[in-house]
Subunit: 220 residues, 2 copies
């Protein structure tokens, strides 16, 4: 393993960003901001010796990132107590450079490594699920048909400590070889972003139910 | 392993969708459409016995999905010849149901399993890179500063046959327990989509360089 000044904040060897080291960040504000901006994580785990990656919702509270699922699901069974890698990535744009070699992608991403731990306390599970639901619409949990004990029991929640974690952020215009700036081709960025549309009410909504305030929901 | 009518098209045990089986698809038109709609893939692989997932650009041609990177990069070295799982996912919306248990995510996703194979023929590499670059802007490859032999050599391209693959698609309003439709709470979908903004020219562009036609670029 080689090290460089850019590795200084890396909490472990496997968190060291090897490609484009100058894009690496190991500080919690950067890591937390990316986790908080994108609810979809991709979790890699082993199942019968094979690597699998499954997309799932994640949410962060303090020093931990959480995800949930059916407690008899493949991903939940395979990840509990096991080493996983949780990655959150946000695509911010395509970077068109003056040479193919310098084409790039503007992005923000986080990788968290560790052993997934189950949340077993029932009150804590309810508290965490409440938080997830209310992250979409404030106070929505209290308006729902109350969760039943079998539903809570059938739901597993796993978490990972944000300890071994790294972030990578690339933004701005292309970085071409200095000599290539004289090459007469357009270069620049095609920005890409996630947008939230107007809420689409369920056709089976009862007459007169009040729409929740979804205006605060941000993504990306 | 249990099977159900929904497994009929699954090409192997590990491609069977176990959760929400009614959302599973194993046909190529569905799989290809999702791969073609989203250039970011998350690839799971083993590195020193640990699962890792890395986001990277993917592109499809015929029966294969391709990705590229620096040939000395961790991901490229660890995936060549190895079993990988390539997942492409698109978030289409948050589904607010009448019970927390039926909250869901509208999405389209694909998983492809198999051994990653390197593209070694140099002309084939150039042809594939040309295709990638031109997928962003038509004919852009020919306008660039020509790729050098060392650049091509430093670039690895890996691919996976789209054989062991499955897709999952969820769309539309919530599916609540029949008895819950009488519960007086708003339910519906908060749609999310990727949008492409106006191209941002590099401040260092030469005067008068013509902007490429990026209007055809679609994502999501």
């Amino acid at each position: 393993m080689t090290t460089s000044p850019h590795d200084a904040g890396a909490p472990s060897a496997r968190t060291i960003v090897n490609r484009y080291r100058h894009l690496a960040h190991y500080d919690r504000p950067t890591i937390d901001a990316i986790l908080d901006a994108m609810p979809v994580a991709h979790i890699a785990y082993l199942h019968e010796g094979q690597p699998i990656v499954t997309p799932t919702l994640q949410w962060r509270e303090g020093d931990r990132v959480y995800w949930h699922g059916a407690n008899n699901g493949r991903m939940m069974r395979a990840t509990e107590g096991a080493d996983v890698c949780l990655t959150v990535s946000i695509l911010d744009g395509l970077v068109l450079a003056r040479s193919a070699f310098n084409f790039n992608v503007n992005h923000r991403s986080v990788m968290v490594f560790g052993k997934a731990e189950a949340v077993t306390d029932r009150e804590e599970k309810v508290r965490l699920l409440t938080r997830l639901i209310n992250s979409f619409a404030p106070n929505q949990w209290d308006k729902l048909r109350p969760a039943t004990a079998p539903e809570i029991n059938a739901t597993a929640i796993l978490s990972l400590k944000i300890g071994e974690a790294s972030a990578k952020v690339r933004s701005g215009p292309p970085e071409d070889n200095e000599g290539d700036y004289a090459h007469p081709v357009w270069a620049g960025v095609l920005p890409i972003r996630l947008t939230v549309g107007a809420a689409e009410p369920d056709p089976r909504n009862l007459p007169g139910v009040a729409a929740p305030d979804l205006s605060g929901y941000r993504i990306g």
